[in-house]
Each structure stands twice: as C-alpha cells, then as structure tokens.
C-alpha cells in the first residue's frame, strides 16, 4: 500500500525501522547460508521480477493503494525469507528510483506486506498443505488480507499516536473506524483475484518441479558444483 510520506508519524516508523533492520539482516544471512554463491544473483533477479509485478501491473484507484502482487507466490516457491527480502528491496527501489511509495512508510510496508504477508502465506500453506489447491488459494488470500488489516490498523492509530496538545491530529487524521473498511474491503477482492492467478501459476510451477520439498531452502535448479 503506497502511503506517501507525511501520513505516518515518526513514533510509528522509527520503531518499525528498529524491528525491520534485524529482520533484514537475519533474512540476508538465511539466504546466504541456504544458497551460498547463488544468493546475490537470485535475490537480484527476483527483485527485478517483483519490481515489475508490483510497479506495473496493478495501479489501483486513488493512488493510495499499490499492492504487492506475488509475495505469496514468491514465498510458496522460494521461501518466506527470499520473498521478504526481495519485496523490501522492491520498496526501496520504488522509493529511491521512482519516488513512489515514500521512504518513511517503507519499513511499515516491508514489515506488513513483506514479512507478515510472506509468513502468513507460509503458515496457512503449511497448515492446509494436504488440500493443495485450497491451501494455495487460502495462503494467498490471507497473505493479502492480514497485511491490509495491519496497515489499516497502523494508519488508523495515527490520530491517537500523534496529536497536538489541543487534540487535533498531526498526521493521518482518521481512526480505525474509517481505515478498516476503506482498506480491507477492496483487498477482499484483490486477494481473491490474486488467489486465482497464483493457483494457475502454481499448477505449472509444480509441473516444472520448482517446488522443493524443503521449501525454506528455496529451489536449487540446475547442476552445481
């Protein structure tokens, strides 16, 4: 969700940086130990792919609501850590190369959609993995809804977190009563659309054996020394 700078208070984004930074470090460690030499090229290629998916495919009305497509797909195929890192880097590129999205909202978005989104997809899929197609659909849908819920709550909390002494807000002015329906309801449909799309892709992914039994290590394709 591309919230521009100026709607989220420092009381929100500074703690978000503090939480996200160690997670980024941990994720890059995980990726390195799992893939060794392949980590950097793999991450770069997937960043490029997610960048295009998120930047070009779905500009939503109002401009407030860019959406991360494919976080769930990346998670299911290559593990939550790769998805989280790739998506965070996409946000960075969007903020610093395109000037879209906002740099202060980056940690909030990365945590909500990248981290929580990826792990939601992962958890739901692991829970339901016996009914595969349903598991994929549910994983995708929840990985869209839960982060949307989270972002709505964070935005909705702004008026109470940051207000002037006389009680007027300083950043985003609406409470959760407004943000929850405004953000979550459209995402119910977005989630459904993405679930359909991901299920179609997933079928092929299975056929081509991208999906490793131990998916947290990601897929190792090709013959490596």
């Amino acid at each position: 969700m591309h919230i521009p700078d100026g709607l989220i208070s420092p009381q929100t984004y500074l703690p978000a940086v503090a939480i996200a930074a160690p997670l980024w470090l941990l994720a890059s460690r995980k990726l390195r130990t799992a893939l060794e030499d392949e980590a950097l090229p793999r991450l770069a290629v997937f960043t490029a792919l997610s960048f295009l998916l998120t930047t070009l495919m779905l500009p939503l009305p109002g401009g407030t609501n860019g959406h991360a497509i494919g976080v769930a797909l990346l998670t299911l195929c290559f593990g939550p850590w790769t998805a989280f890192l790739a998506y965070s880097l996409v946000l960075l590129l969007q903020a610093l190369v395109l000037g879209a999205g906002g740099i202060t909202t980056l940690p909030v978005n990365a945590l909500a959609m990248g981290f929580v989104g990826a792990w939601t997809a992962w958890a739901v899929f692991s829970l339901l993995h016996r009914y595969e197609t349903a598991a994929v659909a549910a994983a995708v849908w929840f990985s869209v809804i839960i982060p949307a819920l989270l972002v709505a709550l964070v935005l909705g909390a702004q008026p109470s977190i940051a207000q002037a002494p006389d009680g007027t807000p300083r950043f985003f002015p609406f409470g959760p009563a407004v943000t929850l329906p405004a953000i979550v309801i459209p995402h119910l449909f977005i989630g459904a659309a993405e679930a359909v799309f991901t299920c179609l892709v997933w079928r092929h992914a299975r056929r081509r054996r991208w999906v490793n039994p131990d998916r947290s290590k990601g897929v190792k394709a090709g013959v490596h020394p």
């Binding site: 521009p4 991450l43 770069a44 490029a48």
Partner: protein, 186 residues
Amino acid sequence: MTSPGHGWRLLAYLTAVVAGTAVHDPRWLAAALGAALLLSGRGRGALLRRALKGVAAVALLVSGGYLIMGAILGEASSEFLLLLNTRLILLATLTAWAVRDIDLDRALCRYPEARRWLSIVRVQIALFVRLAQEFRQAQRSRAAFHPSLASRTRGVAALGVAALDKALHNAEEVTQGMRSRGAFDD
C-alpha cells in the same frame, strides 16, 4: 568514477525527511519547502510539479474526507489541513529532488555487493520488460476477437509462469556468469 558525495546526499535526504515529520509548525514546513526549491537549482518547477502530481490524489482524498467529517462533527481545524498538505508537499518535493539528484549506484560506492545487486536488477528489469512486451504483442496478434475474462486470466497466468520460469533460469545463468568470471573466488 565514484564520488562519496552521493552517499552524503542520501544521508542528508533521509535526515531532512525525518526532520520534516518531526516539525509540526506549517510555517517552518513552508519555509523548508521554499528553501528546498531554492536550493534545488534549475528545474525546480518540474520537481514541484512532479511532487504535486504524486501527492495530489492522497492529499485531496484525505483533506476532503477530513472536511466532510469536520462538517458532520463540527470540529474541522484549518490549521491541521495546512499542516498536513504542507508536509505532504514538502516531503514529496524532497523525494523528487532526491530521485533526480542522487545516483543510487554512486551512493552505494562503498558497498560493492549492493552495487552489483543493483546492476543485475537493472539488466534483469530490461529483460523482463521485454518479455512482458513480447508476450502482450503475441497475445494481441493471436486474439482475433475480444478475449473473454477467463482467457485473459489464463493469459496473465501464462505470463506469470513464463516470468517465473525466466527468473529461475536467469538466476542460474547469472550465477554461472559470475562464477565464470571469478566473482566467487575473492
């Protein structure tokens, strides 16, 4: 070839953004906006236009919503509207300026891995864009009639498959390319 200047610019930009969210007096924010526009040199009109274009939708939506809520509840504060909009425009202008004047590659000059990551991303983005364009053209040339929603969905899914396939393949090729040139021997 590499200049440390861009690293400092990046730092200055980040500091300015944090400062812009820590100050809550519209007059100061407006003064900062004026200063930023003054300092950004030629092309400041384009910067401002770009910033306004970026935030116009959000600013209108939030301001309008706030006014309506205020009319209903009878407690709208014009002070807040001024603060919110000045802040939005200031931060968007700072970002537009940063995008124009900070070369990310140079800002990263001390981090060879990050620069390499960025270079691969750039090359790969060009590849994926070409893939998407070719795909869309092929779809258009093959679809004689207006495609149904189902066939369009399948088309997008096929593009998704092709893109993932290509991503996997490219990741492996780039790894081999880097290994072949001794990138993993240092």
